[in-house]
């Protein structure tokens, strides 16, 4: 049995939107509508979907930035060696919990405080959690800078974010995120705002660090090709729900859900001689699965750790 670092069950995030100036009715927007997944230690899950599908909302709920409206999220607790529910964690416990979960943001220009030096930015987590003494902390900062490829450290420590390039800033974000050696990191499209030619170097860095520090990623992106490069498993999100989840190559070679098929076939291919055929949406395959398993089960196992949502999506795709 694989040990899981995080277990998400029936996560929900609903928003109330008033129906207009004179209306007393409140509409409910289901940004995240009953999603479930597990991530084992040492593995990464890609959460792929288009804008508005709920992937960023999921990320923020898992990091306890915005409270969820329903569902259970359990994290592995090293001390008790058991899964622990993150609800009702109070001050000290909450702070300890926060050592193990981190987030890397998309915008390299806005994710570092422009008034802080690189040194202070990377020191902050150590200061907040009172790790070691001042010298230990400074050594740790120099060490992590070397790991992310920003050497010599003395050239970067006194600088301010605006003096660094986009790629360098993301490396600083990664350094700051990983200096506490968290077990779980949510990555919100960290390379989509970087130049294409340097994306791979950042992604390779993240992959190496995942291996060395035993970190699991929840990698959020709209780019399926990037998810392929970074993750063992991919979950496809649409309209607040996970419509399909499977191992990466299995998903790409054998997509079942009409949304996934449409998504994959819409991606441009960097090969002029490739004849890309866009999938014509056809609900037959999905109907067959629903008929076989019934809609009582929201997610059904079609074998090979490959799950499909039986939620009715007719007319939405």
């Amino acid at each position: 049995m694989k040990k899981n670092v995080i277990e998400v069950k029936n996560l929900e995030k609903y928003y109330e939107v008033s129906g207009g100036f004179f209306s007393r009715n409140k509409d409910i927007v289901k940004a995240v509508d009953d999603i479930s997944f597990d991530i084992p230690f040492g593995e990464s899950l890609g959460l792929v979907g288009q804008s508005g599908c709920g992937k960023t909302t999921t990320a923020r709920a898992l990091c306890l930035l915005d409270p969820k409206t329903g569902g259970d999220v359990k994290f592995y607790n090293n001390e008790t060696e058991n899964m622990q529910n993150i609800d009702n964690l109070e001050d000290e416990e909450l702070k300890k919990f926060r050592r193990n979960i981190q987030m890397i943001f998309q915008d390299p220009y806005e994710s570092l405080n422009p008034r802080w030096t690189i040194k202070d930015i990377i020191l902050e987590p150590l200061n907040i959690h009172n790790i070691g003494d001042l010298q230990d902390r400074e050594e740790a900062v120099v060490e992590i800078l070397k790991t992310v490829g920003l050497t010599p450290a003395s050239n970067y420590l006194p600088r301010y974010p605006h003096e660094l390039s986009g790629g360098q800033r993301q490396r600083v974000s990664i350094a700051r995120t990983l200096i506490m050696k968290p077990k779980f990191v949510v990555c919100d499209e960290p390379t989509s705002m970087l130049d294409v030619s340097i994306r791979i170097s950042i992604m390779d860095l993240m992959l190496n660090l995942a291996k060395d520090l035993e970190v699991s990623y929840l990698y959020i992106t709209h780019d399926l090709a990037v998810a392929r490069y970074m993750c063992n498993r991919i979950a496809v999100m649409f309209n607040g729900k996970i419509v399909e989840i499977a191992e990466t190559e299995e998903l790409l070679n054998n997509p079942i859900h009409p949304y996934t098929k449409r998504l994959i076939s819409s991606i441009p291919v960097p090969d002029p001689s490739y004849d890309r055929k866009v999938y014509n949406v056809n609900y037959d395959e999905l109907d067959a699965i629903i008929a076989k398993h019934g809609t009582d089960n929201p997610m059904v196992d079609i074998g090979n750790e490959h799950y499909i949502s039986t939620h009715d999506v007719k007319g939405l795709i």
Binding site: Q50, D195, R199, P272
Partner: protein, 324 residues
């Protein structure tokens, strides 16, 4: 044998700033034939948007074309004054900007904004004629005629983008420049928009200049392409040839650093560092500091740079031709 519709020769453009002159476009030459689709690919700061802006001379106040020629159907555009240029813009060449979705005036209906553009160039046409024209344009890009009376905020991102394309076509231009027109859109909508663009191009016999950092889109959309780095073109030729036999190290790197969802999972390569500053004069090969396999001759400062023909129609920068 289709004729040349746009011909750019030795274009040089720079921005005057407090820190010095930024040479954004260095000795760029290319041509686009009638009905042809030409792609310009490169990363941030390579100069591709500056080239686009130069074609329409819509750059910022501190931008100056220092030398070179831009000929549209044989008519020289460099040196024209503002009133002459205004006749050419939209009528000869039009553009779909990056972030064009936000180019709409939020308080004016969409149809009215397009009508304004048409009125600029064809003041003698009646309102009925214009409306008819807009309706046919909308049909071409897959928009319902009711959109004419809508405000921009009532439309989705994809609809706004299609309307932008209609706007760009409203004065029957010969050349349309598309500068990253689908960057902010979802993949599925992007695919639809790209198909619309292809369809429209064939229907109207337009020439298209497609600018993007996404090499996959360039592969699917263009017949001819050029790769830009640090303000100059480092490789240019038929799209198929550039993809099958890329000669320049930068081109090769771009191709090898793009992950794909089809085919085998490959090992990808990457670059480090940043593009060189465009303020100081670059001596020798501009890519050599970052080139993953430089030869001993690469750092030679007195090496003569320039495009060399590798095979018919396919040119690459001098430096990499020798590397092999």
């Amino acid at each position: 044998m289709s004729k040349e519709v746009l011909s750019v020769k030795n274009l040089n453009m720079h921005y005057e700033t407090l820190s010095g002159d930024v040479h954004a476009v260095k000795d760029v030459s290319f041509s686009v034939k009638e009905g042809e689709s030409f792609g310009l690919v490169g990363e941030s700061g390579c100069g591709k948007t500056s080239v686009a802006m130069s074609l329409l001379q819509l750059q910022a106040d501190n931008a100056k074309i220092s030398s070179g020629s831009i000929q549209l159907d044989g008519v020289e555009l460099v040196g024209m004054n503002e009133s002459e240029l205004r006749k050419v813009r939209w009528d000869g060449i039009s553009i779909v900007f990056q972030g064009a979705m936000n180019a709409w005036n939020p308080v004016v209906k969409v149809g009215e904004q397009i009508r304004e553009a048409i009125r600029e160039h064809y003041p003698e046409k009646s309102k009925a004629e214009n409306t008819e024209k807009i309706e046919s344009l909308f049909q071409m890009v897959g928009l319902d005629a009711t959109v004419i009376d809508r405000f921009p905020h009532e439309l989705s991102g994809g609809m706004k983008q299609r309307a932008i394309i209609a706007l760009a076509l409203s004065c029957d231009p010969k050349v349309v420049i598309a500068d990253e027109p689908t960057t902010a859109l979802d993949v599925v909508i992007q695919d639809q928009i790209l198909n619309e663009i292809k369809k429209v191009q064939q229907l109207l016999g337009l020439s298209l200049i497609y600018i993007s950092h996404d090499i996959a889109v360039i592969a699917e959309m263009t017949d001819q392409m050029a790769v830009m780095y640090a303000g100059s073109i480092v490789e240019i030729g038929p799209t198929e040839k550039v993809f099958s036999t890329p000669k320049h190290a930068y081109t090769r790197l771009l191709l090898e650093s793009t992950p794909s969802v089809v085919g085998e999972k490959k090992k990808l390569r990457s670059l480090d560092g940043e593009p060189p500053s465009l303020i100081n004069e670059i001596i020798g090969c501009s890519f050599s500091p970052r080139c993953p396999d430089p030869s001993s001759d690469c750092k030679n400062p007195i090496k003569e740079m320039g495009l060399v023909e590798i095979e018919p129609g396919h040119f690459a920068d001098n430096c990499c031709v020798d590397c092999g």
